[in-house]
């Protein structure tokens, strides 16, 4: 029982095997891709492993505090930012192996030519709650 984040990148991940930009796919290929993603999420809900899934718009800003009495400073969007997050899925699974297996399945979503994209997904474990009986090992 551990939560993992499957992170999908617009940019910043190593190149996918089937690395064709989506705007060069056929409309049918796009539909097939969207369907695959929806089915994947639905299947995880059925197995009791789904927690959350969200997509992010690419345009974003950096914002920071600028001292008392000043409005926050904004900067960007940065067209050349190396890493850009496209979205995520959060899963709750029994093992790390299961998390890897699911990330692999998600990476097999079809792209150009109906072939799997083999996209690199970033898999990150959540920091868990502190278990009740840690203090002996923590010393």
């Amino acid at each position: 029982m551990a939560k993992y984040l499957l992170l999908k990148h617009y940019r910043g991940a190593p190149a996918a095997v089937n690395d064709v930009p989506m705007d060069q796919w056929t409309p049918e290929e796009i539909s097939a891709h969207v369907q695959y993603m929806n089915d994947f999420a639905a299947r995880l809900e059925e197995t009791g492993e789904f927690v959350d899934s969200q997509a992010l718009a690419p345009g974003g800003m950096f914002v920071r505090y600028d001292g008392e009495g000043h409005p926050p400073v904004t900067d960007g969007p940065f067209a050349e930012t190396k890493d850009l997050i496209a979205g995520w899925m959060v899963i709750d699974v029994d093992s790390y192996e299961r998390a890897v297996e699911l990330a692999g399945e998600l990476s097999a979503a079809p792209g150009a030519g109906g072939k799997p994209i083999h996209e690199w997904l970033e898999l990150r474990p959540f920091l868990a709650h502190s278990p009740t009986t840690t203090e002996c090992t923590l010393k």
Binding site: E46, F50, V51, A128, H129, S130, E135, C136, T137
Partner: protein, 381 residues
């Protein structure tokens, strides 16, 4: 409205329905419906016989559901056979439910969810909140679990060890949402201990009580972890400690040692020390030796290295640690602690920082980061 009473009746009501011939999954749904009804009806109109009320309502709920989706003949058979809701073998039923919900064919998370609902009487929403997943996900997890065990015969004897593992998992999850899972685990283990005379069940109950007794002292006002040595022992729950020790002593008298009894013995030795300095580390090392013999777990050997460090000095602890795989979780944290005790603050600070990066949870990470910061501040002052 006594929710505790309501929930404590859940397993025996469910057991009665199953014994009457209802299949487990449908019976479990019917009992949940009856619990929900009770919450609405009882405050204004409390029943004289709460259990009888629940059995009657759940049974009708089950019949209605069966009527809706299965053959009429089967339903009529059941109605004809309906026995009076008289005294039932509640204890046996409860025990069978524990076995079923912890069945080895279930994954740990499914077993936990099913146990909390079918034995604990928690709602799907409460369980979902406790484990921070959407209610729909938890509902699916529970219904899959019920499908998985649907072919298991209810009167089949089960393995107590699997039940104990599930209860231990629940206990360790601690607290989130409006359900206190540690307290819930204690309640369920207490109930199991009443249903079966088994030294390891008693051992687990003792272990939980002894750990739970320290809960108030374990967290600083800012939410940070307070280590055992630094805890204000005046805030330990002495009643809970006394109960845990009594249960443990009775269990040990059976002379059938198991890992939970050995862990409880270690917790009892900690609980028994008026100050951290008076802890009987020599005996604790001996119990870790027992535990290592019983489980052969590397985590136990890691904990043993800490105890050796206290009993025989940090060098001895480091020597014990050197024999272990350094990829073990918390290995670095233990190494940091032992190096600090040995006076090598530079190494300790570096290892604490490294351990913080590997920490599996936020509280530990913050704690280890603070340890590193504390040593760095001292060194560079």
């Amino acid at each position: 409205m006594n929710e505790a009473l309501l929930r404590s009746l859940t397993p025996s009501v469910l057991g009665i329905l199953v014994r009457r011939g209802a299949d487990f999954a449908a019976a479990e749904d019917a009992v949940q419906d009856a619990l929900v009804k009770a919450v609405h009806v009882w405050p204004a109109d409390p029943p004289r016989d709460p259990k009888g009320w629940l059995v009657t309502v759940a049974w009708h709920q089950f019949l209605d559901a069966t009527r809706a989706d299965t053959a009429r003949r089967r339903r009529e058979d059941l109605v004809d056979e309906e026995p009076m809701p008289g005294p039932a073998p509640a204890v046996d039923d409860t025990l069978q439910l524990y076995f079923l919900c912890a069945h080895p064919s279930l994954t740990p998370s499914s077993a936990v969810a099913l146990t909390l609902r079918a034995v604990g009487g928690l709602t799907t929403r409460q369980i979902a909140q406790a484990y921070l997943v959407p209610e729909a996900t938890m509902a699916q997890r529970i219904s899959r679990a019920k499908r998985t065990v649907s072919g298991v015969r209810f009167d089949q004897p089960g393995d107590v060890a699997t039940v104990l593992r599930v209860l231990y998992l629940v206990f360790n999850e601690g607290y989130s949402g409006d359900v206190d899972l540690a307290a819930e685990a204690i309640r369920l283990t207490r109930k199991l201990a009443a249903a079966i005379d088994h030294p390891e069940v008693a051992g687990l109950l003792a272990l939980m009580l002894l750990h739970h007794a320290r809960r108030a002292a374990r967290t600083a006002p800012d939410g940070g972890l307070v280590t055992l040595a630094e805890q204000d022992r005046g805030r330990w729950d002495t009643e809970s400690i006394a109960e845990g020790i009594e249960i443990l002593q009775a269990a040990l008298a059976h002379d059938r040692l198991g890992e939970f009894q050995a862990q409880a013995a270690i917790a009892a030795l900690h609980a028994d020390a008026p100050t951290a300095g008076e802890t009987d580390w020599v005996q604790i090392v001996e119990w870790y030796d027992e535990l290592a013999r019983l489980t052969d777990s590397p985590v136990v050997r890691l904990n043993r290295a800490v105890a050796v460090g206290e009993a025989d000095g940090p060098r001895a602890g480091l020597a014990a640690l050197a024999a272990l795989d350094d990829s073990l979780p918390r290995h670095t944290a233990v190494a940091a602690y032992l190096h600090e005790r040995d006076g090598d603050l530079a190494t300790a600070a570096r290892l604490y920082a490294e351990a913080a990066h590997q920490a599996p949870n936020l509280a530990e990470r913050d704690h280890l980061t603070r340890q590193a910061a504390r040593l760095n501040a001292r060194r560079f002052r």
